[in-house]
């Protein structure tokens, strides 16, 4: 379609003209900019896919689809992320702890997950292998960190301040952006004790600005990918005939 025929069908309309000329008149070319009505053109279902691109994609797509379309569970309600705690955040933080415990062979005090690492919600309906890949695309490995009580306190303060970190098997109250009344496994935080935390290597290495985790007294690989932990949890739910559900459960209280 030529521009001219577009004019016939859509008529002329004036864009916004902005002179971008710099002071000083030596320049021979003076730019002005035309902002279209919409400067973001939607890439939607009305556009026919380019055949060359399609044929490039085809062999890759076949390999991906074979694996990804397998349904491994059902979510009656979507799991979404949110501030402090959320259905999706709680689900992943909790399973991070329990699935790591299963391979680690010992109890772990806490699990942790940040919102930044949850790349997609778990949508309502069937959950496929592909959905889990989109939720957790990273090849992150699960770690078990041993932390001093002081570092644990720092972690809860971080969670209270940034609202991005969900902690499993723990509860706390946020007042003026600070964490108080911290309990772990139902017991108050003891600053003189050490605690274990199941968390991804990305976060253990200080990702999402959690540099304080680098102060871990001990750092062990659990031998489990973060994505495989999620996959196993969903598959176990399904094997037991249970749907995949999770709720905000009040582990974080916020006092305004």
């Amino acid at each position: 379609m030529s521009l001219f025929s577009l004019f016939r069908t859509r008529g002329l309309s004036l864009g916004l003209g902005i002179t971008l000329a710099l002071a000083g008149c030596q320049k021979e070319l003076v730019p002005s900019v035309s902002l279209s009505v919409n400067t973001d053109i939607p890439v939607n279902t009305q556009i026919t896919p380019d055949p060359t691109a399609e044929s490039t994609i085809a062999p890759f797509r076949i390999k991906v689809d074979q694996t990804m379309n397998e349904v491994i569970g059902q979510a009656p309600v979507a799991l979404e992320k949110g501030e402090y705690e959320s259905s999706l955040g709680n689900f992943v933080a909790d399973l991070s702890r329990t699935q790591v415990m299963a391979v680690y062979g010992k109890p772990v005090d806490m699990g942790g997950m940040t919102n930044g690492g949850l790349r997609n919600p778990i949508d309502q309906g069937p959950i496929t292998v592909g959905d889990v890949f989109e939720l957790m695309p990273f090849e992150n490995e699960m770690m078990v960190l041993t932390l001093s009580g002081a570092t644990v306190q720092e972690m809860f303060d971080f969670a209270a301040r940034t609202k991005i970190l969900v902690i499993a098997n723990a509860a706390y109250t946020v007042r003026n952006g600070k964490a108080e009344a911290i309990s772990i496994g139902g017991q108050p935080l003891d600053i003189n004790k050490t605690y274990t935390l199941a968390i991804s290597d990305y976060l253990a290495n200080g990702g999402d600005n959690m540099g304080f985790l680098k102060k871990a007294l001990k750092s062990e690989k659990a031998g489990l990918l973060a994505r495989d932990a999620i996959m196993k949890e969903i598959q176990q739910h399904t094997a037991q005939g249970k749907p995949v559900t999770a709720q905000k459960d009040g582990r974080v209280k916020v006092i305004k």
Binding site: F4, F7, L14, L29, V30, T48, I57, G207
Partner: protein, 315 residues
């Protein structure tokens, strides 16, 4: 030839535009008779390996995106416009199984087929480490521009340029790239040895080099800094305010959907536009510049063609 047809169409466009202005009672163009030159910037950011559209099953953004559709759109616009630059602001990778399975090969191949002119690096482009980038670079038939990462102590030494000058009908367009601070965002071992340089100082140097040495007519920054942070972290808006001489910042990282570019006006009247088009290739950004060939005598002043809205709707 298509090039020539487009040129003629464009002249019609301009004449019709001048007539339109007269009708509205705005001043018509003076004696600046030489045909203006039009440049169309198309851009994406944070495509995150979204090769196929989001499944059209009622989910958020369902049915949107898709690189083969974007290829169609780009082809159509290239057939209509004489001078097109197709640019990306980083985070090409990570987000769908295509990346997990093939490490970014398909993303780079499709971008090459689509004729991307340049891209910058986002933090997720380091997700398979420097080795992961090194492995896939042969599939990218377009340059990565990055001015504030120094790779000289890494295996990627010499693989990237800070900027590139594109020449379209004599119009010189300088494009440079800026990346976000990687520490704390990317696993340490995935970028070890890469030195992060201050984006503001780097951008000032880039503008100076491009304007004074390369004599460019337009300066574009591909930025993966992010659009806007409430706290004291450099972002595109702060960059636009602190650095003069950039005409357009094409941003990324924060997945920000802007209805239209933000205009930041400097004390000397120069305007920096900041744009970002969400993520996952849901939208293709488009900004059209018109260059008026000015008489060297100062009488022509800053008269410029009031451009037409030629937004392309695909029906």
């Amino acid at each position: 030839m298509p090039e020539k047809m487009n040129r003629r169409d464009f002249i019609k466009n301009t004449v019709a535009g001048a007539a339109g202005l007269a009708v509205l009672g705005l001043p018509t163009l003076g004696t600046a008779a030489a045909a203006p030159i039009k440049l169309t910037i198309l851009h994406t950011n944070d495509m995150h390996s979204r090769i196929d559209p989001f499944p059209n099953d009622g989910r958020k953004n369902g049915g949107m995106g898709g690189m083969a559709r974007r290829a169609t759109l780009v082809k159509q616009i290239r057939a209509q416009e004489p001078n097109v630059l197709l640019l990306d602001a980083g985070d090409i990778w990570q987000g769908t199984p295509y990346f997990n399975f093939f490490g970014g090969e398909l993303e780079y191949k499709l971008m090459t087929q689509m004729g991307y002119d340049a891209a910058t690096l986002g933090n997720h482009d380091f997700d398979n480490g420097l080795e992961g980038l090194q492995k896939q670079l042969p599939h990218a038939g377009f340059p990565f521009l990055i001015a504030n990462y120094d790779f000289s102590n890494t295996i990627l030494k010499g693989r990237f340029e800070p900027y590139k000058v594109f020449v379209k009908e004599g119009v010189r367009v300088g494009v440079f790239g800026l990346g976000i601070e990687l520490a704390g965002l990317v696993a340490d071992n995935h970028f070890a040895g890469t030195q992060y340089l201050d984006p503001v100082a780097t951008a000032r140097q880039m503008v100076k080099t491009l304007r004074e040495q390369e004599k460019v007519d337009l300066v574009i920054c591909l930025s993966h800094l992010g659009y806007d942070y409430k706290y004291n972290k450099i972002d595109d808006r702060k960059l636009a305010r602190q650095v003069s001489g950039i005409d357009l910042i094409i941003g990324g990282h924060t997945h920000t959907f802007l209805d239209e570019p933000e205009k930041i006006t400097h004390a000397d009247g120069h305007v920096t536009l900041v744009n970002q088009v969400g993520w996952s290739g849901i939208n293709l950004g488009r900004i059209d510049f018109t260059f008026q060939r000015k008489n060297k005598s100062k009488t022509a002043a800053t008269a410029s063609v009031l451009p037409l809205n030629d937004r392309v709707i695909i029906s």
